[in-house]
Symmetry: C2
Subunit: 478 residues, 2 copies
């Protein structure tokens, strides 16, 4: 999943330079023409859907650190090679391993019945035999924050924030806060356990949304789980009777030492400047309940397919196209942070980058954090993307995506390519994250966007302003 930006900077900081000058970065006309051809070719190309079908069928769920994590890496290496990438390699990433073995829960009294729920990532398990306690309900994180610890001590805290559908998915800002911060706050106030209404917009599906909490290994942590939306409705109805409601949680999950996985990287090597890279990608891991089609098989497929189209041109691009399949995004951007730490000193060589991690809906808006002298080149890219329905908003910063955001924080110039996320949070982090949710045509539109901007960046005369710490004024801080 993508972390949504919490703040927007003043438009004035970001406005393009007025008119082009000799010092401005520009895309040569031949490259613009080739990018238009790539764009149009991408719309009719089935590579991304085939890659996504392959990953979700042959590997399926691929929780970071699980047995399937190794299979996913093997798949990615083999797929990069099969697509003809010039260079394929892995870079190790070590992180705490978290495992889910069993999860169940139920209302014990006054109305006994099972819940559909799922343990949150980094949740500890319950004691053997489960945790049974009274529930205290809050309708918002603010209400929990304001609560007297005496009302919470020894109880299972429930927070019932309801996410609504939006094109930009902005309700996930609060939804993820309730999941990430809520358990930590509840634990600090002495709660015995934590439940939330799933951070998901599928109001009528008995499907729970997992996702990581804010606990770290060694923290004081409490068992934490998400109820499906209809189960949250049911718990709220039960609480509304005004009698004590007792719930049992039985979660067998938790940390299990360290694990070393890897970022898997494929490159189309630049002809003139092989050491200068355009960086794209997605994350290879997924949550375990689904097969990770929208989160984030789509990002892997879009970036692999975009690079493959460039690979198939008569000659290699001037600069290197680097596709990074990141390790363990879901439990805390472990692959992203390892990558940024390892490559921080080369940040000036990263011309421009973003990964794709908000599903397979159409891209509808582009924004960028680039040097003022690169704005004319951004405008050229925007012109090529416009027929795809992509609006260029020069007043907003670019974030680089959930994983390449870490390189942006180091100073890499970065795009944001907003996807239509209206239904993304219906399926996000659930068993419902499966291939059937992806429209091949919408997926191909994404490939068209990525193929075009990636190629134009690779062929640009001039750079986009990447330099150590370059975009702190856009909020790109570590």
């Amino acid at each position: 999943m993508r972390r949504l930006p919490l703040t927007l900077l003043a438009a004035s900081l970001l406005l393009a330079a007025g008119t082009a000058s000799a010092a401005d970065t520009a895309i040569p006309a031949t490259a613009v023409k080739t990018a238009e051809q790539l764009r149009d070719r991408a719309l009719a190309d089935g590579t991304a859907y085939a890659v996504l079908k392959s990953l979700t069928t042959e590997v399926g769920p691929r929780l970071a650190g699980s047995e399937a994590d190794q299979r996913a890496r093997d798949w990615a290496v083999a797929k990069f090679k099969a697509l003809g990438f010039d260079k394929v390699y892995v870079e190790p990433v070590t992180y705490p391993k978290w495992v889910r073995r069993h999860e169940s829960g139920a209302i014990v009294a006054p109305f006994p019945q099972p819940f559909v729920l799922t343990a949150l990532g980094y949740s500890p398990g319950t004691p053997a035999g489960g945790l049974t306690a009274q529930v205290v309900g809050f309708d918002s994180l603010a209400a929990l924050k304001a609560a007297d610890p005496a009302a919470i001590q020894g109880k299972i805290v429930y927070v019932g924030f309801r996410m609504q559908r939006h094109q930009d998915g902005h309700d996930y800002g609060m939804g993820s806060m309730v999941r990430v911060a809520g358990p930590v706050i509840a634990a600090a106030k002495g709660a015995a356990g934590y439940l939330l209404r799933s951070a998901g917009t599928d109001a009528h599906q008995r499907i729970a949304h997992t996702g990581v909490t804010g606990f770290k290994p060694g923290d004081k942590a409490i068992p934490a789980a998400a109820l499906s939306n209809p189960d949250a409705d049911q718990l709220e109805r039960a609480l509304a009777y005004g009698k004590p409601v007792t719930v049992k949680l039985d979660l067998d999950c938790g940390f299990d030492g360290d694990y070393t996985g890897a970022n898997v990287i494929g490159e189309i090597t630049g002809r003139k400047h092989p050491d200068q890279v355009v960086a794209i990608g997605g994350h290879l891991d997924s949550w375990d309940p689904g097969t990770g089609a929208i989160d984030d098989g789509a990002g892997i497929a879009i970036s692999m397919a975009a690079a493959k189209l460039i690979h198939d041109l008569p000659q290699r691009p001037d600069r290197t196209i680097r596709v990074i399949a990141f390790a363990n995004e879901e439990m805390g951007l472990w692959g992203a942070r390892a990558y940024a730490d390892k490559h921080a000193k080369e940040v000036s060589k990263f011309m421009l980058g973003t990964d794709s991690d908000l599903g397979a809906g159409k891209v509808y808006r582009m924004s960028a954090s680039v040097a003022p002298y690169a704005r004319p080149a951004m405008a050229q890219i925007a012109d090529v993307l416009k027929p795809l329905g992509v609006a260029y908003d020069a007043s907003r910063p670019g974030g680089g995506g959930s994983d390449l955001g870490a390189m942006h924080a180091k100073g890499m110039a970065a795009l944001t390519l907003n996807q239509d996320a209206t239904h993304y949070f219906d399926w996000h982090h659930t068993p419902n994250d499966t291939l059937d949710k992806v429209d091949p045509k919408e997926l191909a539109q994404n490939v068209a966007v990525y193929a075009a901007w990636t190629y134009m960046t690779a062929q640009a005369d001039g750079d986009f302003g990447s330099a150590p710490g370059a975009f702190k004024s856009d909020g790109a801080e570590e």
Copy 2:
């Protein structure tokens, strides 16, 4: 759930008598007026939704024979009494108890990953440690029937029929055949296990639809389960690679002796003819994964609320309104059959009847199996229901519903009140059968229909033709 009629009789058998005569059954004008008032009052009455909320919240899932079965009966007795019914009683029903303890399944090779599946009712469990076998796939029941047993022996049979949404839900005819008959056919051909694509129209939900198979206690039976639609897609994709696909099923379920539950009955006692009854109802049991809101809490709520509106009139109706909350419909109409066996000799006292068991969608069509001399009364009822959007089709028979169909088979005159089932099979027999699927306004429309026809029948001058074996020509046979 309601069994859908497999055949329709020739229209000629069912046409109403041309014009009214002195021997015809008729509804007095005062009763018509009161029925119109009941109808209009029902549309603004919240009783049914309150009853449904109470049942689904306070009892929740209520699998026949489970601990919750007793709680559901206690609830029904208490609710009838709280609503002021004149007489509340139970009639015992004994049936084989089937229990579900654990269920899981997975593709073992070539693409290991778990399935979302659910064991079918009356399925035996797998051996300890599970059943692992190669899958042989069929796209229809006909293909399975035609298959050489040698191709099936020792394998897990999969049948992939896809249900589509229809207003009358008719694809459930084949969908339920694949579930009920398929396992029996596969077992006879030597299969080791059986899987089907869920008999459900929720093509994109990772939710499996349970339901009973055709196995009986003591039969040669094989473990049988339903895959969610996306899991069926995944299995079909895996099979399409052309390599052997091995699946493991681990089901802990099966028969567990006999159980005695009960039909729970509430009556509004008739003022003039207390022994003559108008019979309505629904079934009290539900499948265990959901809370049985649409199947069949709605039928219980509609019939209780309709009778309650009649109860609240200034005086009791001429005949008795009998609301029957049937036991164990889901695993083979046990309550219905016990009821019909017990009351067969009184069939002539049952004026007209039907239960409600196709959810809470609006009633859009009425048909009836009644004596020709009762057609004028049916036309009067139709006139009162017409403003509710109910069309009267005098060319179709009535079936009496899934449970009162058994009394119709004995000779009770019967209605069919078709509900809009466009989305019913999205949720039917799944965890998704929860209160949020019910629109209170649509539920109230059902109550308006039931209150009006029930009252008019109770006040009719004349009968509707009930007599032992009266409707064999409509296909109403035991």
